[in-house]
Symmetry: C2
Subunit: 213 residues, 2 copies
C-alpha cells in the first residue's frame, strides 16, 4: 500500500495526487498540516528528512521529490502511454515534465509565495521575486501555447506525466492573477483536463480543499 504525504496548497503534492489518481493505484493520502509545522515533526522527518511535501512510503521504501515519486508510481503501474518505455518517447515526456517543473512551477511558486503565503505567515513580500516570476511566465507560456496549438497534449498526441506536471504547476493561476485566457490553446487544454474524472477525484480546482479543511 502506498502512503502519500502532502498538502493541497503544494503544487508538487498535487502532481503526485493527480498522477496516482490517473494511474488508479490503491493508496492512502495523508494530509501534512504545514501551518501547524507538522513537516518538521520528528515523525515526519523520519518519512522525509528534508521536511518537505510530498513524500511517499511504500512498505518501508521512502521517496521524495514529486517527479521521482511519479516515475516510481508509473513503474509500479507498468508500461503505458502515460509514461512510455520507448527511449525517445520517454525522453520527450521527461523533457516536458522538466520544462513544466523547472520553469513554470518555480515561476508560479514565486508569485504564490509572495502574493499569498507571505501574507498568511507574516513573511516579507519580495517584489523582485514577483517581477521575476512574471517575466519567467511571460517568456515560457507562449512557448507552451505554440506547442498546444499544434498538438493535443504537451509531449504528443497522448496524455502523459508532462501534462499532469504542467496542470499542477498552473493550478494557482487564478489565485495569483495570471490570465491563462491570454493563451487560448493552454486554456482549452487545461479546461478539458480539469473536467476529467482523474482530476475531479482529486479536487474541482486548486485549493478547493481550503473550504473543507
Amino acid at each position: 500500500m502506498l502512503n502519500i504525504y502532502g498538502h493541497f496548497l503544494s503544487p508538487p503534492t498535487n502532481i503526485v495526487r493527480l498522477c496516482v489518481s490517473y494511474l488508479g493505484l490503491p493508496h492512502e493520502y495523508i494530509h501534512v498540516d504545514l501551518q501547524k509545522g507538522e513537516q518538521s515533526s520528528p515523525e515526519y522527518l523520519k518519512i522525509n528528512p528534508a521536511g518537505r511535501v510530498p513524500a511517499l512510503e511504500d512498505d518501508g521504501f521512502l521517496l521524495s521529490q514529486s517527479s521521482a515519486i511519479c516515475k516510481y508510481m508509473c513503474g509500479l503501474s507498468g508500461p503505458s502511454d502515460f509514461y512510455p518505455e520507448d527511449l525517445q518517447s520517454q525522453a520527450k515526456v521527461n523533457q516536458w515534465s522538466d520544462f513544466a517543473g523547472k520553469h513554470i512551477m518555480p515561476a508560479m511558486g514565486r508569485l504564490f509565495f509572495n502574493k499569498i503565503v507571505a501574507g498568511m505567515i507574516g513573511a516579507e513580500i519580495d517584489k523582485g521575486a514577483i517581477k521575476t516570476g512574471e517575466a519567467m511566465l511571460a517568456r515560457d507560456l507562449p512557448l507552451i501555447e505554440d506547442v498546444l496549438k499544434s498538438r493535443e497534449f504537451l509531449a504528443g498526441d497522448k496524455l502523459t506525466l508532462a501534462d499532469i506536471t504542467l496542470i499542477a504547476g498552473l493550478e494557482p493561476a487564478e489565485m495569483v492573477q495570471v490570465d491563462i485566457s491570454a493563451y487560448p490553446s493552454i486554456e482549452k487544454w487545461r479546461k478539458t483536463l480539469m473536467e476529467r474524472g482523474f482530476y475531479q477525484r482529486v479536487h474541482s480546482h486548486f485549493a478547493a480543499e481550503m473550504q473543507s479543511s
Copy 2:
C-alpha cells in the same frame, strides 16, 4: 552521432558534458555563444525553440532539459550502476538528481546570476534573490552533508547521475563565495570527483574555459 549544444557557464550544460564524459559516448560538443545571442538565432531555435542551452541532437531527434538529456544518454549507453534499471534504485537516483537540480541548482543560479552575470550584461542586481539563494543553500547543504557523511555517493555506494547533477550545481561555489569547506563531507566527495578522469576531460574546474575562449 550525438551533437551537444551548450555553454561552459551554464551548470545544466555541465551536467550533460560531465554525463556524456562519464558514459564515454561518442559526441560532438558545440559551443553556443550566449554573449553573442546565438541561442536566439534562427538556426539554434530549430534545435531548441526555447532558446536555451543545453540541447541535444541525435540523428534528427531533438531534446532539451539537462536531466532528460542525461537519462536519454544513459538509455543509449545501456543499464549500469550510474542509472540503475531496478525501480527503487532508479527512484532514489531520480530523487537525488531532482533534489540537486531543483533545490541546489536554482539557489546557486540566483547567486551566480546576480553576483556575476548581471554585472557582465548590465542587468539590475536583485539583492532579494541573493538572500533567497543563500537561505536555500543554508537549508539544503546541511541535508546533503548528512547524507555524504553516511555514504560515499549521493544515492548510495555507487556514483550515479545524482552525483553528476550535484557536482555541476555546486561548481560556481568559489565564484559566488559559497564556502563548501563548511561542509567537510561534501568537500571531500567533491574533491575526489573533480580529480577523476571523466571530470578532468571536461575541464579542471568551473569556467576554466573562460581563459581559452
